[in-house]
Amino acid sequence: MSKRSLSIVHLYPAEMNIYGDTGNRLILQRRLEWRGLDAAVSLVGVGQEIPKDSDIIIGGGGQDAVQSSVQPDLQRKAAQLHELADKGVVMLMVCGLYQLFGRRFITHQGEEIRGIGVLPLETKASNTRMIGNTNVQSEWGLLIGYENHSGRTNLDDPKLALGTVDKGAGNNGRDGTEGCLVNNIFGTYLHGPVLSKNPGLADELIRRALERKYGEADLAPLDDSYAYAASRIAQDRPR
């Protein structure tokens, strides 16, 4: 029997990689390898094609200056990303790409920057920097991460949040929601990187991708003691 494998695609690894989010790719790759599965990693930048057989697509945050080159390219990829999303491809979008996966971003000047509308949300620039250690109640336990954004994201429906904020601002500092989860599209403001201290979430992405590709997923448990120890300490650190 040939080895099972998943195709991991990292979107805009050069432009949108500002807070260690590249680590999410390494984490997914290793968690597959440690279980004897293959991880085929592809890097897709501006002007490059997303592989049709993508199983998990991840993306991170970037500097404002760079988002101006990414946004038009993302528009060109929009149709394909919608198609992949409808087929149930697993996606994890953090910070800047989380915002651009929504319908639009409204700047301080009131200008509208179009997103690709895969996620039912909009983001508005604000003067408040929402930054610090963040704890989020979710289906996979307490998610531990670090947020750093000034955009306020509003979900069309708060029930579509990834989780509720226990400590921190979350999507907008007002309604207690953090992130967004629709079908297999996960969006969040959590850096850390988010999968590092949340191995349950990492395995959720892997499980959904395997189930979609092979009909079932039987993931052997891994020794995540360092992740849990790191998570216990991080959750009590000052905001």
């Binding site: 500097q63 992740a227 991080a234």
Partner: protein, 429 residues
């Protein structure tokens, strides 16, 4: 008001010392509040003016080199040796060194300044010159973006009265030459052949093919640093010397300091200059060695950001260490967000083959990072006291241990190591 500030400042300093608290900037904080013109009336009156050294990596070492080179030429240089580089830290340094009478026995000040605080600092004192080394991803949670950091340094440059010393190979620094059109610009940089040793921040993160960027022909240019001899072109002549400071990054720091030196001194003793270039030893926490009573040598290396950490780890390729310690704290000065560890390349640690101990408040996060690199971690010890006790109890006289640590972890570990060591470095432990 000015004399009262000195008295209050010095009293606070004495009280803190009695309480065993050295290195506190509290006296600086207090004086900053009560007397806004303190710095202007003190270092602002020095005949040689104030030179600011800023940038993401290399500030402390470059400041130390420049100060030593100027001292070697007979100047009395006021500098903030221990790298306390926020405004209140500078004020605290001045309080320590000023006489009660208000007299400051110095000719010139060379001040290391944090990239963000330099822009504030110039509101207190107008600098004669600015040395801008580089802009790299550092504590993202404070600055938000490296372009914003570059803009802050450019703002600082606008206040300069005489000269700018700029890195010709860093485009974000090079553009600062436009900030003050009437200032003299002295360019420093490295020769194109050395480019692979100095991968830029963008290249480090994008994994691009390595390209060479040069805004202008450097006035002071690093030519080679193979073996232990460094060659630097200064104007029309070439200086050759064998410095104690090792590595490519230090060769570039020496180059930057030389460039600043030429901006300050047009007339100098070349013999004294070469002697100083060869004898400067590592600054606080930058490759210092502390020798334990049992003879074991502990090498301390400060790490602050992904490119700096990755560069520092290269020493593992050339030198054998019997134990690797990595101590990560997340206090304000360390960077609260530990995500940056995932932008550091740790294969040198995984491949070195020696036991790895992860320490500091976020030691578990560091261990996690190493595990994902398919490396092994012997132990995580988050209590510094227990960590040092372990190193002391197992260290042998012929062994070399290296500890990579963030800022507050460095301060804590040094203090603990002092109790077990026989050798003090130049600044004293």
């Amino acid at each position: 008001m000015y004399r009262i500030s000195i008295i209050i400042g010095k009293s606070l300093l004495a009280l803190l010392r009695l309480a065993g608290r050295r290195g506190s900037a509290l006296p600086g904080l207090v004086v900053e509040r009560i007397n806004k013109s303190f710095l202007k009336k003190t270092i602002g009156t020095l005949p040689g003016g104030v030179i600011i050294v800023t940038g993401t990596n290399g500030k402390t070492t470059t400041t130390k080199i420049l100060a030593k080179l100027l001292e070697g030429q007979g100047m009395r240089v006021l500098t903030n040796e221990t790298g306390s580089n926020f405004v209140r830290g500078i004020i605290a340094t001045v309080i320590e060194k000023i006489r009660l009478s208000g007299k400051l026995d110095y000719d010139i000040a060379v001040i290391e300044q944090d990239e963000a605080y330099a822009a504030l600092f110039v509101n207190y004192v107008r600098p004669r010159g600015l040395v801008a080394l580089n802009v790299m991803r550092d504590q993202m949670d404070r600055f938000g973006e490296i372009d914003a950091t570059a803009r802050l340094i450019a703002k600082t440059a606008e206040s300069v009265s005489e000269f700018l010393v700029l890195n010709a190979n860093d485009p974000r620094i090079a553009v600062i030459s436009k900030s003050k059109a009437d200032a003299k610009t002295v360019w420093f940089g490295h020769h194109e052949e050395l480019v692979r040793h100095f991968v830029s921040d963008d290249q480090h993160h994008h994994g691009d093919a390595i390209e060479f960027y040069e805004a202008a022909e450097p006035d002071v240019e690093l030519r080679t640093f193979e073996g232990s001899e460094v060659n630097v072109k200064v104007g029309s002549q070439t200086l050759a010397f064998r410095p104690k400071l090792e590595g490519g990054h230090n060769a570039l720091n020496l180059t930057a300091a030389l460039a600043a030196f030429t901006a300050v001194c047009s007339d100098y003793s070349k013999d004294a200059l070469i002697h100083d270039l060869e004898n400067i030893s590592p600054a606080f926490g930058r490759g210092e060695q502390i020798i334990l009573k049992n003879g074991c040598r502990i090498h301390l290396q400060l790490v602050k950001n992904p490119s700096g950490f990755t560069h520092s780890l290269r020493i593992l390729q050339n030198k054998r260490f019997d134990l690797i310690g990595i101590a990560i704290n997340d206090d304000y000065a360390d960077g609260r967000d530990v995500s940056w560890l995932w932008d550091v390349e740790f294969h040198d640690v995984a491949e070195h083959g020696s036991p790895v101990i992860c320490a500091g408040i976020r030691g578990n996060d560091m261990a996690l990072r190493i595990l994902y690199e398919n490396g092994e971690v012997e132990e995580v010890i988050t209590e510094d006291r227990i960590f040092i006790d372990k190193l002391v109890s197992q260290g042998q006289s012929d062994e070399d241990y290296i500890i990579f640590c963030t800022y507050t972890s460095m301060l804590s570990l040094r203090k603990l190591l002092k109790k077990h060591s026989t050798v003090m470095n130049e600044e004293g432990l």
